[in-house]
Symmetry: C2
Subunit: 399 residues, 2 copies
């Protein structure tokens, strides 16, 4: 597996505060974070930050053993159940708790037809759109500096023909068309925070989504990255499909984020189910065999994605079993214990793809290291500096 | 069936050359052409114009009994089999023959991956695109005033993934993306003839085509009308599908042209065939039962389309049986005799939806007629005028 795009070959020249070369010195190069975004749903952080309960503390501490990237829920219907009373403070405190730990936070989503605010439906379409855009202003400006990454709009391929129930967003998407609505919400989010990473996100990986992206880009929609969902409750896609999807969505040359990944450790959902939400079960146990399978699939899938130059993020949707659809979709079981998938992913993220080495400078005070891109703590001569290693350019380290 | 959108309620006031009201006079109101485009493939006109053979004279005269709108072939591979030697003269003479008869002509198509010029493949992609755009300049400018209606680009949904054989257009579509290539060719055709009717045309009527059109319109592509193919060799769509397609493609508010309609009078092609071109048979007879069925289907389909306000054109692809795929897809049999579908469509176009009446002016010299939109010859007091009846605005006829 070719991973050179994930690494730097960095020459560092060490000098002390007086500018004297530090020759023949031991240097410790310890990675502290990945440039790559290893993400997971971080919904469990909300009750912890709100109430401080120990059970959440234990969960979230396990979460932090692996991940550097969190998805927080901004579903309009839950975020602002009553018009004018958004849960801003709770989300802000949670986001800050995460960023203080070095975790990048993404808000999900700003516009979606599901879990939408019911109170919107009393307005006419022009007013709904106005309120949608004001909502974007409020969140994107309000969280700027804490959250600079957004799933701007979710599942647009189905949005105007979604017919499970009436909702305000399907109404305006039907009227404005898919690309028209995408353009409105992206233009607004971009105006609110031009430095933000703005994602289009969909579970539809067919040619429909390709044509939608193609249209958006030609219409000048400021999409920073393509979001691809991969909820595999009905079985692992496998290498072939995964590579085929990567191949098709690479044509645009944009970064690709796997935004919502699910691989389960229990029985597979029957293939005749079209909308995953239609599969409602009393319980959905995690099994020993399923856990081995999940760990293997996680390994294969993450290896393939990490080796693809355009993939910049992989987010597994559930950290704990039993969340969405009660599926055994997490890295930890219902009792909080770690599954083989947890250990597998931790090994990849914090050992195999992680740099922690000791080297010795030559007589010119130089070392050249082959290191995964990310944040580092570099120690030499009893002192430490923090730095980023992101490119191959030679660097002087004054220590 | 509501047809008010196809008609005018026109009050005409008749005066003689001295301005005297022509009261209580008989007026004959005879339609000479439809505003609606009743079209058919007009490939048979080419050998007639070239060679004047009687068999083609008989065919094309029958064609002219019904149709006012002709599709002429501009397939690049046939139009310019050797680079720099296009068959311009033959097409120009045929187009002029048709326009002299009051027939509007459309050129089909300017860009397509099928029947493409093989000699393009020796060039790199930048050169292929340049030659494609020059080709558009040559045809659209060269035929301006004779042909002002073009299928600019054909079957783009499949274009970049078409894999039956290598061809120059799939190559550039793969590189530029669907919307990117559509924009290039449309912008060029529009620059060459801003008054032309420019069509996007596809056989794919799925959500893919909807999203493609949506993207194009948001990207500012100057599409005048949406072209929908309806080759029904595998059986008539039926009322429900037809109305569903009309409904979905009406959202854009653009005129809709049914550009390539086929209903056959023989055995139906099996449904497992995906690409119609894969059905190669020695012969495909027209049967008496099939001919009755075809006439009924033609009637129902044309009635539905004519009653839809956004439909402006219906073109049946083959006039004569045995052309594409040897199918019994025409209005006349292989021996040139008229099928029931011919008589049925002629009855609709030239009787039921046709205006030919005699009325009497009142004491103010006025008559009000309820007439199908189109061209008219109006006679009164032994004299004739030609005029168009297209709106309800009151009109003074000086005769």
């Amino acid at each position: 597996m070719e991973l050179s795009h994930r690494k730097v070959t960095k020459t560092m020249r060490f000098v002390d505060q007086q500018g004297t070369l530090l020759s023949n010195q031991k240097v410790s190069v310890k990675q502290t974070n990945h440039a790559f975004l290893f993400g997971c749903g971080a919904f469990d952080f909300i009750p912890y930050v709100l109430g401080g309960e120990d059970k959440y503390k234990q969960l979230t501490d396990k979460w932090l053993e692996i991940f550097n990237y969190a998805t927080l829920p901004f579903y309009w219907g839950n975020f602002e159940p009553e018009e004018g009373k958004p849960n801003t403070e709770v989300l802000m405190n949670t986001a800050k708790y995460l960023t203080d730990k070095g975790v990048k936070v993404k808000g999900h989503p700003l516009c979606w037809h599901t879990v939408c605010a019911d109170w919107l439906m009393k307005y006419d379409n022009a007013t709904i759109l106005e309120k949608q855009l004001e909502r974007i202003d409020r969140e994107v400006k309000g969280f700027k500096g804490v959250i600079d990454m957004w799933d701007v709009i979710n599942e647009v391929v189905i949005m105007p023909i979604f017919d499970k129930y009436d909702n305000a967003i399907t109404r305006i998407c039907k009227e404005k068309g898919r690309v028209g609505l995408i353009k409105e919400v992206f233009d607004r989010a971009y105006a609110d925070n031009p430095d933000a990473v703005l994602l289009l996100n969909d579970f539809n990986t067919s040619i429909n989504y390709e044509i939608l992206i193609d249209g958006c880009l030609n219409a000048g929609v400021p999409i920073s990255a393509i979001g691809i969902q991969s909820h595999q409750h009905q079985g692992y896609w496998g290498k072939e499909k995964l590579e085929e999807v990567l191949d098709r969505f690479s044509h645009f040359g944009l970064p690709i984020h796997f935004t919502e990944n699910t691989l389960i450790s229990g029985n597979i959902m029957p293939s005749h189910i079209v909308d995953l939400n239609d599969w409602q079960v009393e319980e959905w146990p995690s099994t020993p065999d399923g856990e081995q399978r999940q760990a293997k699939e996680i390994e294969e899938m993450y290896r393939i994605l990490f080796s693809h130059p355009l993939v910049e993020a992989i987010t597994t949707w559930d950290f704990t079993d039993g969340a969405w659809l009660k599926a055994p979709s997490g890295f930890v079981r219902l009792d909080g214990s770690k599954k083989p998938s947890f250990e597998m992913l931790k090994k990849l993220v914090k050992e195999e793809w992680w740099t922690d080495m000791t080297v010795t400078t030559d007589e010119n005070g130089c070392v050249t290291v082959d290191a995964f891109k990310g944040d580092y703590e570099i120690s030499c001569d009893g002192k430490k500096v923090k730095t980023e290693l992101l490119d191959d350019e030679e660097m002087v380290v004054m220590i």
